[in-house]
Amino acid sequence: MGFWEIFGVWLAALLTLGIISFLYRDNAFYKACEAIFVGISAGYWAITYFWDNLYRKFYLQVSDPAGTEKYVPWIGFVLGILMLTRLFKKIGWLSRWPLAFIIGATAGLYMMTYFVSNAMVQISASILPVFEGSFGDIITNLLVSGGTFCGLVYFFFSKEHKGVFGGAARVGIWVLMLTFGASFGYTVMSRMSLMLGRLDFLFGDWLKLIK
């Protein structure tokens, strides 16, 4: 192993320990790691923005002689310049235009995508015959349809959760809790794998305790 490779492993190991030391309490070692991380990663993203967005998505597009829709990136460029007017007090209000543009576009786009992929698709997936298959299947089908129904009742805002309606909302929150508990339990394994990966690096690549 060359010097630089060993250096890299040691550096990575020290940084790993620095982050883990936060579990005990905040300390100078962690603060240093945090400072390095913030600086390096902000720099990384600055570079990403520069080469990937400004250079590739803007400069290369508008300077491409064969490009057919050159005006598209220019609109973004103008909106971006307007964003910078914030730096000047007098015309700072112009920076709200790109903001208004972004918020309007996000609202419009997301509204449709969510409505289709979350609402329409899920509703059509729920429309199934329930009395099909074995006794167990029927119970399960009833439970899925009923559970979805009660879950929606829980989200009702304009009706007080009282009486039968309240009962359904109650069942709804139980279904949600069951969902949350199950997802939590199922995810534990993948979270542990991440730590295993790090320990594997510390014990294996660094300390060479395991193969």
Binding site: I47, G76, G80, F101, T148, M177, M195
Partner: protein, 225 residues
């Protein structure tokens, strides 16, 4: 006036993009927006990155407590910036990809950025443990259901779950922990997810309309400058 134009922009852009779904020639406008957005984000970064430099620079010059760490942050930021802008040590020079193997930028990424990110992510394992200790308590019916569901799934992911209920006859095999865990994941879990997703969709519709119609406008700031 300074406020009415932005409201108008939001209204026009929002409604046009909603309707664009129904008109094939306008279908690609959503993609165009993401290009605009990416370019706007670059300019916004001048403000954000500038803010980062200003805050840490101020700490450094006023010798506030922990100013040393601000030096580290600034150093990291500028080293990364220079390494990436001038593609230092890139085997293919300025023509190469910025993340090319062997470049200084990529080395910093592998030695520093990556282990730090992975370690931060790995902390989750510890927090999962402390959260389970503290949060899964049978305080009321809701919490008990949360607890029981999590416990069954966890049990199903260890050999213990298998041993604990192996005695249950096959005709009631659904009650064996591993089967029960599978059933929970596919049935009640799906019902809950569906209700949440449909609810989210309607919440987004309602909020989007509030924004587009200008009913919700706090984000637009003030007129009096």
């Amino acid at each position: 006036m300074k406020r009415r134009i932005p409201l108008l922009i939001t209204f026009v852009v929002g409604s046009v993009l909603i309707l664009s779904v129904f008109f094939p020639p306008a279908e690609s406008w959503g993609e165009d927006f993401s290009i605009f957005f990416d370019i706007i984000a670059v300019f916004a970064f001048f403000l954000g990155g500038g803010n980062l430099v200003r805050i840490h620079g101020k700490k450094l010059f006023t010798r506030k407590s922990d100013w040393g760490f601000s030096v580290v942050t600034l150093a990291g930021f500028f080293v990364m910036l220079l390494a990436g802008l001038f593609k230092v040590g890139n085997p293919a020079g300025m023509a190469g990809d910025v993340t090319a193997a062997g470049s200084f930028f990529q080395m910093l990424y592998e030695w520093i950025f990556n282990p730090l990110g992975a370690s931060m992510y790995a902390l989750l394992a510890f927090y999962v443990a402390s959260a389970s200790y503290r949060a899964f308590r049978a305080k009321n019916v809701d919490a008990t259901i949360l607890l029981v569901a999590a416990f069954i799934i966890l049990l199903g992911r260890t050999p213990l779950g298998m041993y604990a209920t192996a005695w249950i006859p096959d005709s009631f095999s659904i009650l064996q922990i591993p089967n029960l865990a599978i059933w929970i994941m596919t049935s009640p879990n799906m019902a809950g997810q569906r209700a949440i997703m449909i609810g989210i969709a309607l919440g987004v519709v309602s909020m989007s309309l509030r924004l587009i119609l200008g009913v919700e406008r706090t984000y637009l700031g003030v007129d009096s400058e």
